[in-house]
Symmetry: C2
Subunit: 272 residues, 2 copies
Amino acid sequence: MTVFAAEQQFHDAERPLPSHQARLACRAGLAETTAGVAPGFVQGNLAILPEKYAAAFHRFCQLNPKPCPIVGMSDVGNPMIPSLGIDLDIRTDLPRYRVWRDGELVEEPTDIVAHWRDDLVAFVIGCSFSFEEALLADDIPIRHIEEKVRVPMYRTNIPCEPAGPFSGPMVVSMRPLKPKDAIRAIQVTSRFPSVHGAPVHIGLPQSIGIADIAKPDYGDPVPIGPDELPVFWACGVTPQAVIAAAKVPFAITHAPGLMLVTDLKNKHLAVL
Amino acid sequence: MTVFAAEQQFHDAERPLPSHQARLACRAGLAETTAGVAPGFVQGNLAILPEKYAAAFHRFCQLNPKPCPIVGMSDVGNPMIPSLGIDLDIRTDLPRYRVWRDGELVEEPTDIVAHWRDDLVAFVIGCSFSFEEALLADDIPIRHIEEKVRVPMYRTNIPCEPAGPFSGPMVVSMRPLKPKDAIRAIQVTSRFPSVHGAPVHIGLPQSIGIADIAKPDYGDPVPIGPDELPVFWACGVTPQAVIAAAKVPFAITHAPGLMLVTDLKNKHLAVL
């Protein structure tokens, strides 16, 4: 990838990139979170599937680019993803993983060396951290960050396009914004199609199947002021929910909030 | 202007542009409206002021580009505006004008030849017709066009930046849209900053001082569905309201809905 090549060009082995340092900390078992780690660098959701299911999942992502924007993927059986980072080993470079069997969460290890197989394919999917950085840089306040809680997320009645065993509703994240900021946020996030892009809904939660905005299906509730509208973005929890629902025999994902830190830069994802 | 030069290059004196034909029809007293006339060509609001007030009004437009985007202006005392169109004579080329004295509407003539003075400056200000064309081209339905009425417009509590005698609240136009279409409409109209650009508000009319959405201050009311949000754009009626409120001794504007048809093309106004 061009972006990565540019990073590599300036890479100094004696002074690794902050993103590389973050991955090395994960590998050494020293990382507890990736929130706030290596500012400016793209963090991603992880989904690992056996080759048998990978093609259908890849097609699912292709059909549903807003919740499932792929920022990188591995070759079959190869745990290294050089297009996303120097020396990046997907088996060790996240703080914590979730191992799924038949749709059940069975283990939350800090590495997956023992679980790696020659038939696994890793998908790295864009994450809202990237566009939140752009919103904050544009002076748009983000409620759940102010309140130091997780972003509220909701299952909607918006169906994803199915592919093979993968199907289900889109999960969305919600940020309350004043209307003027909401309009600006639509402009800002439209520049970042590879990290969920523009919102999928604004203002009328019931019309996308959200019965009670105070009760998110994932994450934490946040207050919405009388002068604010709830703004909804497609969320990277969608592919995880879809993988769990598909009850595939084996899958690995990242643990919530503990992401893959890549050497890509958020600002380089902007299309304009 | 580059755009105009491009038009001129292809200009054939035997077959005038549709926009030029429209102006010639006005000049001959044959035009009753400009709605739907010369599709694809930019139509503009007109404001003519004595040189004594023109500098302050120009500054007002500069300070308030969303309601008052200038697409062209004349030299002092010169009724021709070649940058906006071939053979364009601002005194004759609109269907109908409004003549104002001390803030009072005193006459609605079909030309202003008798009113023209050596100290007058004409301002042509972008109009929502241009972005409505882009919305319709993007398959976004526009309620007041469907209902064959005038767009509803409202005085807001959003103050314009004052300049000299010119001050007052922003006037906005409203189009009800489904949330998904509203998000798309924000993207589409963001491409057209010279014709009001992105909306200034969405969803909460009371927070911009609109007490009753069913009672517009100008134009006609339109129904808003339970699955729709009202979306508000800065409106070219703002400068007219501001000129009337300033009670300048003499001013001329276009009559509502009877605009100047220019040789500029709407699509060429898109910044992206």
